[in-house]
């Protein structure tokens, strides 16, 4: 980067407020672009446009905190520490994420973590994402260590079938297994964004607004796209039941009727990757209600 451009970005970032060294700031910009353009060399204009899109003042603050600038750290503590703890509280209303926020705060104090902030988001969003990542990874690690559930009675039955309906017709198991197979296939065949929307809405139970934040769509658009995907899914399932499972039209109808009659027989959690609810989730649910 030439000196004039660096000076321009330095000024835009108000990095002088924290006395950030120019070469440190330049190094932070380069780390950022290296990550954004991983595997390819951007043109100078691409690079310029990229730097202009960054949260430069937050990047300068992170640089300064990483350098151990006391005033910058005080500013960070005043303005961003509450956001960190608020994020922890939002994740787990029982306070279970607080200790992670404490640990994160300790790491931030030791400066090393700031070098992983690249200015592609605001500093506040980065902190929220960091504490969320710690929480999710710890939760998943904990779940991996949880004992497996007891084998269900009649464990050789197709996944997702309950005992409840076993005496209700010879086709019951066949229908359930076929439905599970075509649903899984239909989900897998979706476009990534459609699948992501669907899972965010039905598996993660995110609101339209939250999904819209992820997909950069309005709530109305998310709603419309979900509806479109549902319709496509239904059609896919009908077709797959016939083409892949060899069902006749009458069997498709019977299969669907059978499944609707008892909606609890499919292994839906497996299809939608729903993890077991934790105490924190349950607490959050109660608060949300």
């Amino acid at each position: 980067m030439d000196t004039a451009s660096l000076a321009d970005f330095y000024d835009r970032a108000a990095a002088g407020r924290w006395n950030v060294a120019h070469d440190h700031f330049a190094a932070a910009l380069e780390r950022s672009s290296a990550k954004a353009f991983a595997g390819r060399s951007p043109t100078p204009s691409e690079l310029d446009q990229y730097y202009r899109s960054l949260h430069l003042s937050d990047l300068a603050l992170a640089c300064a905190c990483g350098e151990g600038h006391e005033a910058a750290w005080d500013h960070f503590v005043t303005e961003f520490r509450p956001a960190l703890y608020r994020a922890a509280d939002a994740i787990d209303r029982t306070g279970g994420a607080r200790e992670m926020a404490d640990a994160l705060y300790g790491e931030l104090f030791s400066r090393s973590l700031f070098r992983y902030f690249h200015g592609r988001s605001s500093l506040a969003t980065w902190l929220r994402s960091l504490v969320s990542q710690r929480y999710v990874d710890r939760l998943r690690e904990t779940q991996r260590l949880d004992p497996l559930p007891d084998e269900p009675v009649g464990g050789d039955k197709p996944s997702g079938l309950s005992d409840k309906r076993s005496d209700e017709g010879p086709d019951r198991h066949r229908f359930a297994a076929a439905m599970q197979a075509v649903m899984a296939a239909a989900i897998a065949a979706l476009e990534p964004r459609d699948r992501l929307r669907l899972r965010c809405y039905y598996a993660e139970d995110m609101t339209l607004a939250h999904i819209g934040r992820v997909t950069r769509e309005s709530e109305a658009t998310v709603s419309r796209q979900l509806a479109r995907t549902r319709k496509a899914m239904r059609e896919q399932i009908e077709q797959r039941l016939q083409s892949e499972q060899g069902f006749s039209a009458a069997e498709v109808r019977d299969c669907v009727s059978s499944m609707i009659d008892d909606a609890g027989t499919l292994d839906l959690g497996k299809l939608l990757n729903v993890r077991k609810k934790t105490a924190a989730d349950r607490s959050n649910d109660e608060d949300a209600s």
Partner: protein, 354 residues
């Protein structure tokens, strides 16, 4: 399910949420996340931590509906999730199924049907017709007006669904109808939650930009409460954080777009205070170092005596509140957005309009 180790890192997810990824990176991130349970959980968790934008006030799970009900709702229900349409599709699907079995997806709308259940058919037909449309449509197709129109239509149909299901006369349909109605009810609960948020969003967005209005005095002119309420919202969005300083200036509270913070060192450091989700605070007063009254929209009155644990106090009216003063903890004088004042002398157990 993706099992690789190339999960999205926190920085990338943050960039994604804040719109900092270019199109190629975004596509790659979406492709990964759409198949990765861990990254879906991360996205969902981050989204829960994002501050309310004045509109999004609910997160967490839909308690009323089991995942099964939700799943079945979306799978079997067409766009509007109408129980009537579902029932109709389930009971009279013959023509369509035959078409599916023998030919590529039809290019026409639903076939004509008997006169019975005419209204239900009216709703089902466009769904079936839509099912024959090309699979891929761009997200922005039709523009905002069309999207809003579609959303309103969805909402209307979702609200009508249970009614329609109950009106179906055929005995053979009753069981399916009831099951579908349950599913539609469960879904409608979530839709209502989302729609409510969207309605609020629409209201806030529709507010015209105006110069910040002065807080209403006791003898405020007869301006509508809604107008003043909107002005308060604008003020909250535009103004610097509301800071409430206790008689001991080391103890203070500040209201930000994120929520309430509490400081015990004169504002050098702040700790977040937990409030009921989505509450908007418009005023506050501190009669003692650790005591604080807060007031807000829709009759919100909160009080804390230890600095951080706020308890909601019932207020006689669900009206926007503009300010509060409190000479001592038991006494509070609240001014509503329409200029009236209410007083309590027993820490909120009883209020008297002045």
């Amino acid at each position: 399910m993706n099992t690789d180790r190339n999960h999205l890192d926190a920085e990338t997810v943050a960039a994604w949420i804040d719109g900092g990824l270019d199109s190629a990176s975004l596509a790659a991130a979406e492709a990964h996340a759409s198949n990765c349970e861990r990254c879906q959980e991360l996205l969902a968790t981050v989204s829960r931590t994002m501050p309310a934008t004045g509109v999004v006030t609910t997160t967490g799970s839909l308690k009323a509906a089991s995942i099964s009900a939700v799943w079945w709702r979306w799978w079997m229900a067409p766009i509007a999730a109408t129980a009537a349409a579902v029932t109709l599709w389930m009971v009279v699907p013959q023509e369509r199924l035959q078409q599916v079995a023998t030919a590529p997806p039809p290019k026409v709308a639903a076939p004509a049907e008997p006169a019975a259940g005419a209204r239900a058919r009216d709703e089902a037909a466009p769904s079936m017709a839509q099912a024959t449309e090309p699979r891929r449509r761009s997200p922005g197709e039709g523009g905002a007006a069309r999207a809003n129109e579609q959303f309103s239509e969805d909402k209307r149909k979702a609200e009508e669904a249970p009614r329609e299901a109950q009106q179906k006369p055929q005995a053979s349909q009753e069981k399916l109808g009831a099951a579908a109605a349950n599913v539609a009810d469960a879904d409608a609960a979530k839709d209502r939650r989302d729609n409510k948020a969207e309605d609020r969003f629409a209201r806030v967005e529709a507010e015209p930009a105006r110069a910040p209005a002065a807080p209403p005095a006791a003898a405020a002119p007869a301006e509508s409460a809604a107008t003043i309420g909107n002005a308060i919202t604008q003020l909250r969005k535009q103004a610097a954080p509301l800071v409430i300083v206790s008689p001991d200036p080391r103890y203070r509270w500040r209201a930000t777009s994120d929520g309430i913070d509490f400081s015990v060192d004169g504002g050098r450091t702040w700790l977040p205070v937990r409030l009921p989700q989505g509450e908007v605070v418009t005023g506050g007063a501190s009669p003692a170092p650790l005591s604080c009254w807060l007031v807000g929209r829709r009759g919100l009155v909160l009080v804390a005596t230890d600095g951080t644990n706020f308890t909601r106090i019932p207020f006689p009216e669900t009206v926007d509140l503009a300010s509060v003063s409190s000479p001592e903890l038991r006494i509070a004088i609240v001014t509503t957005a329409d200029g009236r004042t209410f007083r309590t002398e027993n820490a909120g157990r009883a209020w008297r309009q002045q």
